[in-house]
């Protein structure tokens, strides 16, 4: 079996067969010796799973799954422009071993009040240990579609050695990688170091000794084919875009066809639930003001006020939750909630809607 091994001096591919221990580069005459330290930077490309004639049906099939999209897309969608582009991804496997010694934290507890300790004192202690990890880092390495492809998992089954001629034969356009293997390896190293740094931070207050041993196991550059599509929906002149992973058939991202009726329906549902919870809130406020001091009991344990609060509480809760479900589904991941940042609009999802 022939293996793709590159020259450690000029990175040109070497003609190398099983059992060979030495190979001389035909370009720069560097003698490469193979022992443990064989250079295994590899460059691959993936085969097409979705051919040009299947792009339209893949796109239409995915668009029709979106609620509110009209069925006439199936017959009326026109592909205006379609490009096959090969985008670069690095896959790097890195192993790291860190032996560390230092001063860590511990605690002592005092002031037992019969139920538990009310005081804590932090103390220090000597600690040592080892972190030993192997991780795989996959990184997209171009500025083109960088937002869209940040979260995309590539399928890498059926790799072939990279061949620019073959890509050109298929009518593909090669998008060159932004950085090189060195940078990809460095990024992987940074990622593992960050992980170890975080763990070390958990364990130690002061690091006294740290012996690090990081080693790249393998690093590969893979050019993955994508279909960059420009399409028109029936009766609308403005072109829309889509990006389809041609190696797996997954629609990475697509503009959504216009669906006004559905959006009106969706907004009305949201309004219905929001208004219902506001009404509930107002009624509750009214009862609360009027019955605020009331000591009327509907049963032995439950006062009238408590009962009213419970009933309207459910009503408000239901309204708020339902409207948030609908918002989440209608806008997909465009609306994201984080504890720190509150609600945030993002366009990282598979489908995006132009707010026209």
């Amino acid at each position: 079996m022939e293996q793709k091994v590159i020259c450690k001096n000029c990175s040109a591919p070497l003609d190398y067969r099983d059992g060979d221990t030495i190979a001389v580069c035909i370009y720069c005459n560097e003698t490469n010796k193979f022992g443990e330290e064989k250079v295994t930077d590899e460059h691959y490309c993936l085969d097409l799973f979705i051919e040009q004639q299947n792009v339209r049906s893949t796109l239409v099939g995915d668009l029709l799954k979106i609620p509110g999209v009209s069925d006439n897309i199936e017959t009326g969608l026109i592909i205006k422009n379609m490009n096959l582009i090969y985008l670069p991804f690095y896959i790097t496997q890195i192993h790291g071993n860190v032996r560390w010694k230092g001063v860590g934290r511990d605690a002592e507890f005092s002031g037992h009040d019969g139920k538990g300790y009310t005081n804590i004192h932090f103390i220090t202690k000597k600690e040592e240990g080892v972190f030993d990890d192997l991780i795989t880092v996959v990184k997209y390495d171009s500025d083109k579609f960088s937002e869209e492809l940040k979260q995309h998992n590539i399928a890498v089954i059926g790799r072939k050695f990279f061949s620019e001629g073959e890509i050109k034969n298929k009518g593909g356009k090669l998008i060159n990688e932004k950085s090189d293997f060195k940078k990809a390896k460095n990024d992987a190293l940074k990622e593992l170091k960050k992980k170890h740094g975080k763990k070390l931070n958990d364990e130690l207050m002061t690091v006294e000794e740290k012996v690090e041993d990081y080693k790249i196991i393998k690093s590969q550059l893979i050019h993955v084919p994508f279909w960059e599509v420009e399409w028109l929906e029936p009766n609308i002149d403005e072109p829309k875009k889509a990006l389809i992973d041609a190696a797996s058939g997954i629609t990475v991202q697509a503009d959504i066809p216009s669906r006004k009726l559905f959006m009106i329906f969706s907004y009305s549902m949201i309004a219905l639930y929001l208004i219902s919870s506001i009404i509930g809130g107002l009624v509750l406020l009214y009862y609360d003001t009027v019955l605020g001091e009331s000591q009327v009991y509907v049963s032995e344990t439950v006062s009238l006020r408590e009962n009213v609060e419970r009933r309207f509480g459910i009503f408000i809760l239901f309204g708020v939750f339902m409207s948030s479900f609908i918002i989440r589904l209608t806008f997909k991941d465009k609306v994201k909630f984080s504890l720190k940042g509150g609600f945030k609009l993002t366009f990282e999802d598979k489908f995006r809607e132009k707010m026209t």
Binding site: E42, S57, K65, Y117, D133, L134, I157, G158, L272, V298
Partner: protein, 331 residues
Amino acid sequence: MSVTAMESSCPTCSATSPVNPEDVVIACNYCGTVYTIGKEKIADHNFYQPKYSLAEAEKKIYKFIKRKTRFRGFNSYGGLKIRKTLVPYWVFLAEVKSFYNGYGRYTRTETKRDKDGNVVSQKTTTYYERRTGNFEDEKVDALICRLGARIFGLDKLEKRIETMIRTKPLQPFNQKELLDDMDKISFLSGEITSYEAKEMLETKIQDEYRLKAEKACTELFDCRTHVNVKNMVFLHYPIFIAEYTFGAEKYRVLVDGVSGDVIDAEIPITTRLRVASFIMLLLLFIVNINYTFIQPIENDNVTAMMLFTFFALFAGYKLTNLLFGTVSRGS
């Protein structure tokens, strides 16, 4: 740069098998021997006999989709494409010893009431306690032997394999048994060596236990996890990957080849189903109004109220998903 046709000769029978450049663990297409690119045989190579032939699996999926889409309009179903694949896994039996030490902070509120039940005073106290944990577990873990893998329903498959290994003994790999099955079956060779797999497993388990410890404590002081791999084998696990069309849309199904169960499937949401969900959602809204405004206010059944709230939220969530979602999942 030339593209080389890749072939590898088997150390047992010398037959050549086509291989992909990324393969590091290769299965011989003739005698089934599994070996590394360095021609080192992997002795412990196992598999499970697929339960169904392609035709049987096709029937099974047909029935499944028919059952799931009974009320959605089954007529649009068609164009089933199915593939039988053996997916490579490294399977581990590992002994895990883990210890953590940290502290936890919690508060307790005491409320004093007078005879009439009115609140007189409230006092909140913060308490601290040591939190430690000591685990000794025996884990069965399956790690897919591919560097990048995009198989529909992969996460569910992994859990399935882990339980399958515990209940059903592994069969030593036997190419003949597979050849008896006349269907075309595709092998995936492995991309991760045993050394890499072992290291990756250790990282995975250590991260898992550290996360568990971090969740248990306000602050974690120490966490040590030791993984001892007692046994590791190479397993080819059979799956059926299928794609069917529903009108112009394409959907995917993953079937566990050993038990024959549908593990994960995309099921279309049709207009008919969306209309039905909308009507149900309106009904739920009306019931909610009735419960809040119309029922006599003296009705103070708290348990009924709680149950209704849970039901309404759950049903509301499900129905909203059907009304506004793109595709539903089922197994």
